[in-house]
Each structure stands twice: as structure tokens, then as C-alpha cells.
């Protein structure tokens, strides 16, 4: 009974937040609605027994997206066109019919999916049965690195492509430089950094290690580590460099390189490609993925080819 009430409040809140995010008059209000929407989403994932997704939502939403939106808003205030304050929502007469048709489509697909008979022996069940062969007891990590390794590898390639694309565009349209943060010299900022940045490293490693047996893993850990880097950028401790250093170049491709090499070495010794030979290989690949994900996210946040310590 109370469970139903909780779910209803959550569902209503999520829909209302989504609506307000899209149709709010002020850009700032829409951004805050989106941040709060992320919080509610992570509660929804928690209610749906999906702590992995709740972790990812928390790390990305609270650590990176919120700060990215606020910094973008700041850039718009400083450099943007004068009318950048409102999204100018235009309602066209086609909007309502299209929305209704889309909703109908979703209902039909959902209804059909509910009518389908349950098939025994689906991939999910087989995977859970054979999880012991992989050597990790967290099904999500097992699937990501054991059963769908190729998919995970391609996700890393997508992340690399995103960074390359951002670099190509950034040289053409450099985002306007912001005036240095006014609070860089406030003593509290240093105290905050000396607390949060080491803890973000610790939590990232913890999530990586926990990923074998509990919710966690390279993606969540990487996002947490990136959040530490984002904080360093926000407080002006790290700033954009014109060129990527050799270390950064290696770091960005590290995940893809280590993953591919491990997979190819396995193939050279007679196994199927990307079949990781044991738990140590899983942790090796995950560590490389974590470092690459974190570095790529921070570079994307800074919209810069490289980073250097502020003088």
C-alpha cells in the first residue's frame, strides 16, 4: 500500500519534472529542473532494484552534467546572444497530433511486449547460470566484460570518437574563455578540494574493486574520478592547454588499447577474440577503462585538447 503510494509520488514527480524541464520559460530554471529530474531518476532506479543504474545516474548527473549545464549557462551569459535567456518555446499546431501519435505508439509497443509469452532459456537466464565461468559474481560486470565484451569495446571507441569530434569542432569554434572563478582564492575552496579530490580517487577505486561482486565498475568509477577532475577545473586549479601532452594522449586511448591488446593476445593463443582469460584480466581491462573514461570526460568538460596546472 505504502509502496504503491511511494511509486505514484515518484512517477508523478518524474513526469512533472520532465515537463517543466522542457517547457520552462527561463533557461536557468530548466537546468535546475533537469538536475532535480536526475535525482528523482536515481530514486526510481533504486525502487526498480537497479542500483547499478542509480550509481551511474548519481555519478554522471551530480558530478558532471549539472556542472556542465551551469558552466554553459555562464558562457551564454558572458558570450552568448542577448536573447539567450529564454528557450523561446514555439508551439506548432502539429505538436499535439504528433505527441498523441507517439504516445499511442509507445502504448501499443508496451502492450504487445506485455502480451508476449515468456520464453524459457533466454540469454539472460543462460548468462546467470554461467556467471561462475567468468569469475565475477556481479552479473552486470560479467555481462559487460564476459558476454558482451565487443559491445563494451565499441562503447570505448564511441567515447574516443566523441572526444575527437569535440576536438575537431573546438579548434573551429573555440568556446569563449570565462573570466577566472572569483572564488579561486577563498580558503574554503582549498579545504574542500583537499577533502573531495582524494575521496573521489578512493571511491573510484572502491567502485572498481566492488564491481566484481556488487554494483559498481569501470564506468561508474570513471565518472566519479572525472567528477574530481571537474571540481579541479571549476575551481581554476586545472586549466585548458593548447596541446595534449604525451601522457594525456596515452591516457585517452589506454582503455581501448589495453582492451584490444588483451583480446588479440587471447586470440593469438587460440581462444576466441576478447574472451578475457581470468579475473586478473578483467580487473586489468577495467582499470584501463576507468582511467580513459575519467580523462576523456574531464577533457570533454573542459572543451580542451589538454589540461595543465594553473600557475
Amino acid at each position: 500500500m505504502i509502496g504503491l503510494a511511494i511509486d505514484s509520488v515518484l512517477a508523478l514527480g518524474i513526469v512533472w519534472m520532465a515537463l517543466q524541464t522542457v517547457r520552462s520559460d527561463s533557461l536557468f530554471q530548466a537546468m535546475l529542473m533537469f538536475i532535480v529530474f536526475g535525482l528523482l531518476m536515481s530514486l526510481a532506479w533504486a525502487r526498480l532494484h537497479a542500483p547499478d543504474l542509480a550509481l551511474a545516474e548519481a555519478a554522471i548527473g551530480a558530478g558532471i552534467t549539472g556542472a556542465l549545464l551551469l558552466v554553459t549557462w555562464r558562457r551564454l551569459q558572458v558570450h552568448g546572444p542577448d536573447d539567450s535567456n529564454g528557450p523561446r518555446l514555439m508551439t506548432r499546431w502539429l505538436a499535439l497530433p504528433i505527441a498523441c501519435a507517439s504516445a499511442l505508439l509507445v502504448i501499443i509497443i508496451g502492450w504487445t511486449a506485455l502480451q508476449l509469452p515468456a520464453v524459457p532459456g533466454t540469454a539472460g537466464e543462460l548468462t546467470l547460470q554461467r556467471l561462475e565461468d567468468i569469475g565475477v559474481s556481479n552479473p552486470v560486470t560479467g555481462v559487460l566484460l564476459g558476454f558482451r565484451a565487443y559491445d563494451t569495446l565499441m562503447e570505448m571507441a564511441v567515447l574516443l570518437a566523441a572526444w575527437l569530434g569535440a576536438r575537431a569542432v573546438a579548434t573551429e569554434f573555440r568556446p569563449g574563455v570565462l573570466p577566472g572563478p572569483a572564488h579561486a582564492e577563498v580558503p574554503l575552496v582549498g579545504a574542500l578540494l583537499s577533502l573531495v579530490v582524494p575521496i573521489s580517487i578512493l571511491v573510484a577505486v572502491y567502485l572498481l574493486q566492488a564491481g566484481g561482486s556488487a554494483p559498481g565498475g569501470a564506468f561508474q568509477g570513471g565518472a566519479v574520478l572525472a567528477a574530481g577532475g571537474v571540481l579541479l577545473c571549476l575551481t581554476g586549479r586545472l586549466e585548458a592547454a593548447a596541446q595534449a601532452s604525451a601522457l594525456e594522449r596515452v591516457g585517452v586511448i589506454l582503455g581501448l588499447a589495453v582492451f584490444s591488446l588483451t583480446g588479440l593476445i587471447v586470440m593469438a593463443t587460440g581462444g576466441p577474440m576478447l574472451a578475457l582469460p581470468g579475473v586478473w584480466a578483467i580487473y586489468l581491462v577495467e582499470t584501463a577503462l576507468l582511467l580513459s573514461i575519467a580523462l576523456t570526460l574531464v577533457l570533454l568538460f573542459a572543451a580542451a585538447p589538454g589540461l595543465r596546472r594553473a600557475p
Binding site: 505504502i2 520559460d25 532494484h49 551530480a62 574542500l192 556488487a214 567528477a227
Partner: protein, 89 residues
Amino acid sequence: MMDWVLSATALVLLLNLGVGMIRVYRGPTPADRMLAALLFGTTTVAVLLVLADWVGLPALRDVALLFVMLAAIISVAFAGLPTTDEEER
């Protein structure tokens, strides 16, 4: 009994979030909205901790840990914003 207490606590906290939504919605200044959003984060942590016991998913405590750790980032990003007098329109 324990289940009932935990779920009722979660519901009360969620309703608190609902009241907080009104402040995020109405503003009127960006700082009001920001503070409401930060309060939202704190209450979300409380809901997650209650849910962790009620649903029996200890991993939700990790999610709460992330929110607590990363809450400072948004306020730092906001404090770096130039002061504007954006009014409710």
C-alpha cells in the same frame, strides 16, 4: 512493523521532496532555486538510505555516498556564476 516504519519514512521524505519542487519551480531568484535543488539532493540521500534497508539493497548506500560526495560540485559551479538579477517571468 519495521518494514512499515521504513516505508512510511520514505513516503514522508518523498512528500518533502514534493514540497521542495514547488520552491524550485517558483524561485523567484536563481539562488532560491539552487538552494532548493541542494536540499533536494540531501533529502534524496535520506530516501536512498531508508530504501537501502527497506528494499534490502546495501548498494544503495554507495549511491547515497556518491550524492553526498558530489553535492559540493554543483554549488561550486553555481558560486562561480556571475550575479544576475534574473526575475521570475
